[in-house]
Amino acid sequence: MQFLQVLISGISQGCIYGLIALGFVLIYKATEAVNFAQGELMMLGAFVGLTVSAYFAMPYWAVLLISVAVLAVFGFLTERLILRPILGQPAFAIVMVTIGVGYTARGLITMIPGIGTDTHVLEVPFKDKMLSVGGLTIGMEHVVIIATSIVLCALLFGLFRYTRIGIAMQAASQNQLAAHYMGIPVKRLNGLIWATSAAVAAVAGILLAPITFVHVNMGFIGLKAFPAAVIGGFESLPGAIIGGLIIGIVESLAGFYLPEGFKDIAAYVVVLAMLMVKPNGLFGEKIRKRV
């Protein structure tokens, strides 16, 4: 029974990792850029949600929607103003620019007097509630995280499978040049991808808020979502979620059964092992570069 309890909290933590990893993968698939600011996008989402909830006293669903909308615009603008001008530069430059964006975001939030340096509680309607199923007691926030992640994945699946724009995005991420020749507005799609990715990060931030509270360093969780994305293969959307779940479950089991300290490095041990055994991840494709 205890095992199941640990497993479920691992799954809910894994969903958060998965959602952040999803953001990495979306951007990487579309633009071949690795967004090191994904964790900070999540942090911004949580802070936007906090502002909306604390100062405008909006209900929870409105908090979620507004934060998603604000972050989507933020992501879109980041792509337009920062990423697009440096298109074609080496990967190292793009890594540095996203690290820079993350630093700036974290610094700016810290500078807001009275808010930036404190830890905040985001008011949620399901606070301290428990769900009991056949002897299992699960915190309501875990249930909400898992349920929302499932809904979000379904929405994304629908977007990529059934809408014109989603299919165009798939085409562009498979071969930009061919997509461009077919009349697909690749540049605008990249902006939309960034918007989607930031929106997913915002959802993750709002979901994580009841568990870790809202503070400026919550974005460092993004460093743990990297292993999740790598395990999934970095190019596969379902892979990201599954990678996240693996990391989450391993981490919470390690925290429960192994001595102190193993919880923090579990994710990294798993990813190192994965890179040794299967360098392209679970769902990655073997890629050879044409000269």
Partner: protein, 358 residues
């Protein structure tokens, strides 16, 4: 404008390209030797830090700037070097021996990270080094019998041939020697076949491979050398700070080191020194500037991170070759005056190149 006519290969690979360079670098060297008599102890203290970070930068530049492998775990090598030196110095090992061990152990750690690096590249490699960085940090925290854990580890002063180097000036000269020697080693390495192989790997792995360069071998060498240099810097760092704790060697440190070489100018040895200078001077400059800013901005905790972030973004967007790139432009302007054309360094239009042609 100076034109150098090269008549043989040995001239082509000379370290100092012309008389002017010999003169200016000689002057710089003399100035560095005389400096402790001229400037205050505070400046010497900062210079020692710049030297130590320059050695880190040399190591990282070799790996990221010349071999093209991004490392997000270099603080781990710094940590391995620092702790090895601290522990061995406490056991009474002579300094030359202990610092060699620090370099060796870091290099071995580097090879261990390099092993997965042989199969993966790009972002996967960055994640592998990140993973190693976190694991080493955790080991440093938990292995309390050796490292002292979170309560920290005091470090003794350097004992060199029976002489205790405790004064700031003595340590300044010691680090100066190490900086000069490592710079010389790296410069020589870069004009040797090994260095050329590194650059070839950076520019195109496939082409390098088809020219007969053994990728795995050279990548491992690059990792070992880079980690070894960083370990050397770590050993000096341990004696400089005199107190080690695991939070000095976190992933954030590694990211700062990457920023350092990027701002200095990726792919140039000058850039290493510019970057180290920048990294040490900027926080000081900010703390001085704070007094002149309105309290709401100057007193805020996140000011430094914000400025760092903005500078990074600015450099990537407007000067991707860093401070060294800017300096080359200024130098060319002065050399060609008044014939400098605005478009002399106009960036070529770049297009996104896909890494995954199927």
């Amino acid at each position: 404008m100076r034109f150098i006519f090269k008549t043989d290969y040995l001239q082509d690979i000379q370290l100092a390209k012309h008389r002017g360079q010999q003169f200016w670098y000689g002057l710089l060297f003399v100035a560095l030797i005389l400096l402790p008599w001229i400037v205050s102890n505070y400046l010497i203290d900062q210079l020692v830090l710049i030297f130590i970070y320059s050695i880190v930068g040399l190591g990282l530049m070799l790996l990221s700037g010349y071999t093209g492998l991004i490392s997000l775990g270099h603080a781990a090598f710094l940590g391995v070097g620092a702790y090895t030196e601290a522990v061995l110095a406490a056991k009474g090992w002579p300094f030359p021996l202990s610092i060699s061990m620090a370099i060796l152990l870091s290099a071995i750690t580097g090879v261990i990270v390099g092993l997965p690096a042989l199969r993966v590249k790009g972002i996967y490699l960055a994640i592998a080094t990140l993973a190693l960085g976190v694991i080493v940090e955790e080991v440093l925290t938990r292995w309390e019998s050796v490292t002292g854990g979170n309560s920290g580890l005091p470090v003794k002063a350097v004992q060199l041939f029976g002489i205790k180097i405790a004064s700031l000036q003595g340590f300044y000269y010691l680090s100066l020697v190490f900086v000069v020697v490592s710079t010389w080693v790296v410069l020589n390495l870069l004009r040797s076949p090994t260095g050329r192989a590194f650059v070839a790997i950076r520019d195109s792995e496939v082409s390098a491979q088809s020219m007969g360069i053994h990728l795995a071998k050279y990548k491992t060498i690059s990792f070992a050398l880079s980690a070894g240099l960083t370990g050397l810097a770590g050993a000096l760092y341990a004696h400089k700070i005199r107190f080690l704790s695991p939070e000095q060697f976190t992933v954030l440190q590694s990211i700062e080191m990457l920023m350092m070489i990027f701002i200095g100018g990726i792919g140039s040895i000058h850039g290493v020194f510019f970057g180290a200078f920048f990294l040490i001077v900027l926080p000081q400059a900010i703390s001085v500037a704070k007094d002149y800013l309105p309290a709401a901005i100057g007193g805020a905790a996140g000011l430094q991170a914000t400025i760092f972030g903005l500078i990074i973004v600015g450099f990537v967007m407007f000067e991707p070759l860093g401070i060294y790139g800017r300096w080359v432009k200024i130098r060319t302007y002065l050399q060609m005056f008044p014939f400098y054309r605005k478009g002399a360094f106009k960036r070529q239009k770049t297009f996104q190149k896909s890494e995954r042609n199927r």
